[in-house]
């Protein structure tokens, strides 16, 4: 399964911060840890902050800390912030044909399995059993 870069960064940042909710990490700290662009990560952190998953702390030791519930929040909750919802996608050309419809049913089946998997893994589970 291919995730957009922002989604992957959102998962990295949330999981890293959720590992220890008492810790505060700057976007530069997180960017260095995962070898990604600070600019891109800063945008992702703003989205996570708006969603209430992390909170920005001001001051010399400022940065972000995790403020969500590790047992309640699932990977899907984070993916849904960055990826279009499966039911909200635009209709593709040819989808109304017999072959297009049959292909779409297979793709929907794959989407449903992916969503069930992402929805079943809480941050707590992910951090406790790194698979």
């Amino acid at each position: 399964m291919k995730l957009q870069t922002a989604t992957r960064l959102g998962l990295y940042a949330t999981l890293e911060l959720a590992r220890d909710p008492a810790q505060t990490l700057s976007s530069a700290d997180l960017a260095e840890r995962f070898g990604v662009s600070t600019h891109h990560l800063a945008k992702v952190l703003r989205t996570l902050s708006t969603a209430g998953l992390v909170q920005a702390e001001r001051g010399a030791s400022g940065g972000y800390r995790f403020t969500g519930n590790r047992r309640r929040i699932t990977l899907m909750d984070i993916v849904a912030l960055f990826e279009p919802a499966p039911g909200n996608r635009a209709k593709e050309p040819g989808e109304d044909t017999e072959i297009g419809g049959a292909l779409q049913r297979v793709l929907t089946e794959i989407d449903e399995i992916a969503e069930a998997t992402l929805r079943s893994v809480s941050l707590e589970t992910m951090l406790k059993h790194p698979m």
Partner: protein, 139 residues
């Protein structure tokens, strides 16, 4: 504190009632059959002795070509007593019994839209297995 013990015939009304409440289907005969020797059928009780839930499983060999494994067929916890460790205690007790039978894998099948039970099994460390379930409506 949760205690786990073997299910007995006198537990069937409580097991069947909880299952019927959660699934909408009453099947006491099915649950009575799960008391047969060789099957694993356990119940959990709270510290005050109240019925909290049950788990049923069995070691099956060569089903769908798979080597022996412990299968979890059902687990139900009273919604008022969830998040108190009864589900995990039942799962751990069943897994211990499977290990005592010499198997090294535990399996189950879950409705992919039932996120609650999917999350529970994930939290026990279970991941997607090697099989994919397929089905077809027969008209």
């Amino acid at each position: 504190m949760v205690a786990v013990r073997l299910a007995q015939a006198t537990d069937i009304p409580a097991i069947s009632a909880l299952d019927a409440r959660l699934t909408g289907t009453s099947k006491p005969d099915y649950w009575r059959e799960r008391l047969a020797p060789g099957l694993h059928f356990l119940v959990a009780e709270t510290g005050k002795g109240a019925f909290a839930g049950f788990i049923a499983g069995e070691v099956r060999a060569w089903e769908f070509g798979q080597p022996p494994a412990g299968w979890v067929f059902a687990i139900q916890i009273d919604p008022r007593l969830r998040l108190k460790g009864a589900g995990s205690a039942l799962f751990d007790a069943l897994v211990a019994r499977f290990k005592a039978e010499g198997v090294t894998r535990v399996r189950t099948l879950v409705d992919r839209k039932d996120h609650l039970i999917l999350s529970f099994f994930r939290a026990q460390g279970m991941v997607a297995g090697p099989s994919l379930q397929l089905d077809k409506e027969l008209s």
